[in-house]
């Protein structure tokens, strides 16, 4: 099997998750090549062909489509593999349509010659197989172990025409001010907390544990907590000794940001919730009833 991996660059540097693309290829025992544009620093170390250009053309997705297609034309891979990232999920359908090929998104595993993907906000899984000879794949960041990077690629310079349809007007940096990455205890509020008032129950538990308050996306979108407290791929990646997920169903974007936690306590009324896939303890209970009891029990130890 021949895979063409699509590298990804942020501010001139290759994003670390690119090593997971090689990990995915290693799991398949595939011959690999890579296509990469805009990387100004070190190139990835691997044995294979590296199709590259200096151009950045950030967010000109038509340019990126043409560039990847130019590499596909030369390499004739069996599959083209992207990260399921804001770059990958935007670009992959453009490439798949041009190839008239199957696109399988958000792959989390391999399953008997097919690809395992998540469904129903991560509650369910299914096995998907391409029905076309060539396929386009996106892999979920964090799902595949990185492969050791070694070797030196044969570098082949290629290029493509830029496109003027979408104009890049600049980036907006995230709101900061709360650094959750070093907290040893994080107690996070999810939609299941139910209201802005009940976020106080989460805060009380966090204080009893000497921790920080975190949030899932819906809680931030609803304005119950500030965006700087959002945990997940759109917010912060955290790895506390204890992560308490209160009323958080566990969408994959949230799990991606907290699965490095030492111990995960989840509180949820839905025992099928995908947070159960990473929870060391799942308490099946309403946050409003259980949290005050746990806070009181911890305070009683003083």
């Amino acid at each position: 099997m021949k895979l063409l991996l699509v590298g990804e660059v942020l501010d001139g540097a290759i994003v670390p998750e690119v090593a997971e693309l090689f990990g995915f290829a290693a799991r398949l025992g595939a011959e690999t090549s890579m296509v990469l544009t805009g990387a100004s620093g070190n190139l990835p170390a691997f044995e294979g062909r590296l199709y590259r250009a200096d151009a950045v053309h950030e967010f000109d997705m038509t340019y990126h489509k043409r560039f990847v297609l130019a590499a596909i034309e030369r390499e004739q891979p069996d599959a083209v593999v992207f990260l399921h990232s804001s770059y990958g999920w935007d670009l992959a359908p453009r490439v798949a349509f041009a190839m008239q090929a199957a696109l399988i998104s958000g792959i989390v595993g391999l399953d008997g010659g097919g690809y395992l993907v998540e469904s129903c906000n991560g509650k369910m899984r299914r096995t998907v197989r391409p029905l076309t000879g060539r396929a386009v794949l996106t892999i979920q960041p964090g799902a595949f172990a990185v492969a050791p990077m070694q070797g030196s690629p044969e570098v082949i310079d290629i290029d493509a025409e830029p496109d003027a349809a979408v104009e890049f007007l600049g980036c907006i940096q995230p709101e900061r001010g709360v650094d959750l990455s070093r907290a040893s205890v994080i107690v996070s509020a999810g939609r299941g907390v139910g209201s802005a008032e009940r976020v106080e129950l989460v805060r009380a538990l966090s204080e009893a544990l000497g921790g920080e308050v975190g949030a899932s996306r819906p809680v931030v979108d609803a304005g119950w907590l500030e965006r700087a407290r959002q945990v997940g791929s759109s917010g912060q990646n955290v790895s506390p000794a204890l992560y308490v997920a209160c009323g958080i169903s566990g969408a994959i974007q949230h799990l991606a940001g907290m699965k490095g936690s030492g111990f995960v306590l989840a509180v949820n009324t839905d025992r099928d919730a995908p947070i159960a896939s990473v929870a060391d303890v799942l308490v099946v209970a309403d946050v409003a009833e259980f949290l005050p009891a746990l806070t009181a029990a911890i305070q009683a130890r003083k």
């Binding site: 967010f59 999920w89 469904s119 509650k123 979408v166 169903s249 099946v284 746990l294």
Partner: protein, 263 residues
């Protein structure tokens, strides 16, 4: 100004899912249906744009599925969409994104939509493919996962969400397709008069074949629950007992409570 919004009806994600007989997707018995959450932001943004243009714009809401999706189309109408289109496809839940995109693009082609809004992805399939595939079929520009939208006389400025809370700002011209991220706006609750009006609205009903349904590009099988953490413990009971159990587990399995009390 002609605007299309594509909406999907999905089950409530709190529901308990059971595989169907073929094991390809879920059994529909007992599920509660509603509008895909991402699509509610798409409907709201389209209606806000229409309202800001004062009477010179029309918003068409399109959904694909069996008769049950009519309820979701009426929900979009009650939020302010003008026309409803139902592609009556009893097999819709088992179609792959390529097929869904073939039908939407087949409907939209030649109808001169200036803007198409979709959700960034559905909550049940989470493929995040359909919007971009529709745009590519129609040969129009597209931006995925927008968190802000501003219209100025044929052009627009959008914000697109990237990793780690970073966003980029992009400018483009109509015609274009935009897929909407959660939090783009605050979807409205329909008023009672609008709900009543939406119940009487006539819908355009089309067959999948008439809008160009194509063959699938991928197959799906072995739909099953996400395995819980095999080493995990599930606790149920009254709150006080649960709290005592959890304190005991935290004492033995973590160091966060510290010896002899809270830090």
């Amino acid at each position: 100004m002609n605007i299309l919004v594509c909406i999907k009806q999905v089950p409530d994600m709190e529901d308990h899912f059971v595989p169907n007989a073929a094991g390809r997707w879920f059994d529909e018995i007992g599920l509660v249906w509603r509008m895909n959450e991402y699509d509610a932001f798409a409907v709201e943004e389209a209606v806000r744009l229409k309202e800001s243009l004062g009477g010179e714009a029309r918003v068409t809401a399109l959904s694909i599925g069996p008769v049950r999706v009519v309820e979701t189309i009426r929900k979009a109408l009650s939020m302010g969409c003008d026309e409803g289109v139902h592609i009556d496809d009893p097999m819709a839940t088992e179609r792959d994104p390529w097929q869904i995109a073939s039908m939407i693009a087949g409907f939209a082609a030649g109808r001169g939509f200036d803007l198409i809004f979709t959700g960034m992805q559905s909550e049940d399939r989470s493929s995040a493919q359909v919007g971009v595939l529709v745009a590519e079929r129609l040969g129009i520009a597209s931006v995925t996962g927008i968190t802000a939208f501003e219209w100025q006389d044929g052009s627009m400025t959008v914000e697109r969400e990237l990793e780690g809370g970073r966003k980029c700002r992009l400018g483009l011209k109509a015609p274009a397709l935009l897929t909407c991220q959660l939090g783009l706006n605050t979807p409205r609750y329909p008023t009672l008069p609008n709900i009543m009006k939406s119940k009487r609205a006539a819908l355009t009903v089309l067959s999948p074949e008439s809008v160009g349904l194509e063959s699938p590009k991928a197959s799906s099988e072995n739909f099953r629950p996400h395995e819980p953490n095999a080493a995990g413990v599930i606790l149920e009971g009254d709150a006080e007992t649960l709290a005592a159990q959890v304190v005991s587990i935290l004492e033995s399995r973590t160091s966060v409570l510290g010896p002899g009390g809270v830090r």
